[in-house]
């Protein structure tokens, strides 16, 4: 029957598939915002938890005001200075932490005695809650960017370091022996065998460390600074402006996603040699 087949085709169009994936993802976002709006609006629902209808909005903000805040930031241009500072701190922490992690990871993986000696200290430093170092960094590097970068570096470094260390140690012994038999010098082994082999581990860790570089920058700003998105959030919190706090959080989330996407792009570009799961095309 035509009605049935129309229903079936509608159903197959609505079933989640790669084409309408984005639409479904947008729908989830819209639903969350709608729910947020309905639950916090002082007028829509009678108060069912708080005694005062305005309390929900006071504690959880209101989505339309949060978005309005972000809009106002960009229109007035006020946000660019803060965003720039936070981004620079994040990128610097990310770059320095990754560089140090790769260098020291390779060094310790290739030098068993050094790694045996330093092992307990590395474990200790990794176990230490490193956000605690923020006050020390403020004393050492002042309240400017440097202290935030330092905090971010301590967070990023260990993730990259452990992944590189693991990656270098798991180099296939056969590939290594083969490269040696083909005449590779120790330097060439490093450049052509150890590094590429560790790269897949590095990229896996970069997705984590992008987020942590942000954490370092924002927590640092939050604890003491005069600019940056973390500073904005801290200021707003001081005057109980919960909408601005949420606006800052949303903004940071968006930028962390953009950075993560960039890392993913670079990863796909550099990791073409990795096998991917192949899918057959239905005819």
């Amino acid at each position: 029957m035509p009605a049935n087949s129309a229903k079936a085709s509608l159903r197959s169009a609505l079933a989640p598939n790669p084409r309408n994936l984005r639409a479904y993802q947008a729908l989830v976002l819209a639903l969350v915002f709608a729910l947020w709006y309905v639950l916090t609006s002082p007028t829509l629902l009678p108060p069912f938890y708080f005694d005062n209808p305005h309390k929900a909005a006071f504690f959880f903000g209101e989505p339309q005001k949060v978005l309005g805040r972000i809009w106002a930031w960009f229109v007035s241009g006020e946000i660019y200075r803060h965003l720039w500072v936070t981004l620079i701190e994040t990128l610097l922490a990310f770059a320095i932490g990754t560089g140090l992690g790769v260098a020291i990871g390779i060094w310790l993986a290739l030098s068993p005695s050094a790694s045996a000696i330093l092992d307990p200290y590395i474990k200790g430093l990794n176990a230490m809650p490193r956000v605690i170092l923020a006050p020390i960094f403020f004393v050492w590097f002042g309240l400017g960017m440097a202290s935030k970068v330092a905090l971010g570096v301590t967070l990023v470094f260990f993730i990259v370091f452990f992944n590189v260390y693991q990656g270098v140690r798991e180099v296939s012994p056969v590939v290594l022996a083969n490269a040696q038999m083909l005449g590779a010098t120790p330097r060439q082994l490093l450049r052509h065998v150890y590094l590429p082999s560790a790269m897949s581990w590095v990229f896996a860790s970069l997705h984590n460390s992008v987020g942590l570089a942000f954490v370092g920058a924002v927590v640092g700003e939050y604890l003491g600074s005069a600019e940056g998105v973390g500073y904005l959030i801290h200021q707003a919190e001081g005057v109980f402006d919960i909408n601005t706090v949420f606006a800052g959080i949303l903004l940071l989330t968006g930028f962390a996603l953009v950075l993560d996407w960039l890392v993913g792009r670079i990863e796909r570009r550099l990791m073409v040699w990795q096998p991917r799961r192949s899918e057959t095309e239905p005819i």
Binding site: S172, V174, N178, Q180, M181, L182, H192, V272, W273, P275
Partner: protein
């Protein structure tokens, strides 16, 4: 004239990593020589230390006792005159076929464009002309072995060490590869030390077959000259009476060792 490669009284004893007092002697007092341009196969039951011998010949492993001579000179460090074809996949997965083939030239700082030209030639020679930009995971097992062959032969080593290179391939691919190997070999007659557990493969390829005893403490227990005429076709030569006769004689010498090795594995398993 000194042999291209000779192993003299090689003994290899491994210490157990967990317990220093536990020793395992894989190879005991083995002497083996490969003449200039000679194709020698070493056969023996599984787990008898064949690969250990090859690693010693390559300089990847220091023997506990004995010495390795390359053209009469004692070997120290890696054997720079030798090319090694590994049993497992040894290609660098992050390099495509051409980049893998030219790796050795790159390590020797041959100019890039020149290396690529030679590499292309070698890829065509092993029948992979159109596959230069494929990565190892995009190639079949047989193709990867061809790339590995080209990768090693491009450096023109005087000695070729091969560790069960075709054991992971299916029977048809394997015979094709064996014929290709013979063809490549006959072009410039390198000295070959070929390790295998497959007696038919050993006989059809070699000038000489050395039979090893079951491990531990492996040593050669027999040597057979293979006087089959060349050029050979590995799938056809297996049907000739001379081949069958040689096979019967060598198998007779091997059988007891194979059963011993099998019994030992059963006990351990």
């Amino acid at each position: 004239m000194s042999a291209a490669l000779s192993l003299e009284n090689i003994t290899c004893t491994f210490l157990s990593r967990e317990d220093r007092a536990q020793r395992y002697t894989a190879v005991r007092d083995t002497t083996l020589a490969v003449g200039e341009g000679e194709f020698v196969s070493v056969v023996g039951p599984t787990g008898c230390g064949k690969s250990t011998l090859l690693n010693v010949a390559a300089g990847l492993l220091q023997p506990s006792a004995g010495r390795v001579l390359v053209r009469g000179e004692p070997l120290s460090g890696l054997n720079r005159r030798a090319g090694y074809i590994f049993q497992a996949d040894a290609l660098m997965p992050w390099r495509n076929a051409l980049e893998n083939v030219v790796a050795g030239l790159e390590f020797r700082r041959v100019e890039r464009r020149e290396a690529a030209a030679v590499g292309e030639r070698w890829l065509r020679r092993v029948g992979l002309g159109g596959f230069a930009d494929r990565y190892p995971h995009q190639l079949s097992g047989g193709m990867r072995k061809r790339v590995a062959l080209a990768q090693t032969l491009i450096l023109d080593p005087q000695i070729l060490l091969m560790d069960e290179p075709f054991s992971a391939l299916d029977v048809q691919t394997r015979q094709l590869m064996e014929n290709e190997l013979l063809e490549l070999w006959s072009a410039d007659r390198k000295s070959v030390l070929f390790i295998t557990h497959d007696l038919e493969e050993a006989i059809s390829l070699s000038d000489r077959v050395v039979v090893l005893s079951a491990g531990p403490e492996t040593r050669p227990i027999g040597e057979f000259a293979i006087d089959l005429p060349r050029p050979r076709d590995v799938s056809e030569i297996r049907l000739t009476p001379r081949f069958i006769d040689l096979h019967a004689r060598i198998w007779h010498a091997m059988k007891e060792e194979v059963l011993k090795g099998y019994a030992r594995q059963q006990r351990q398993g």
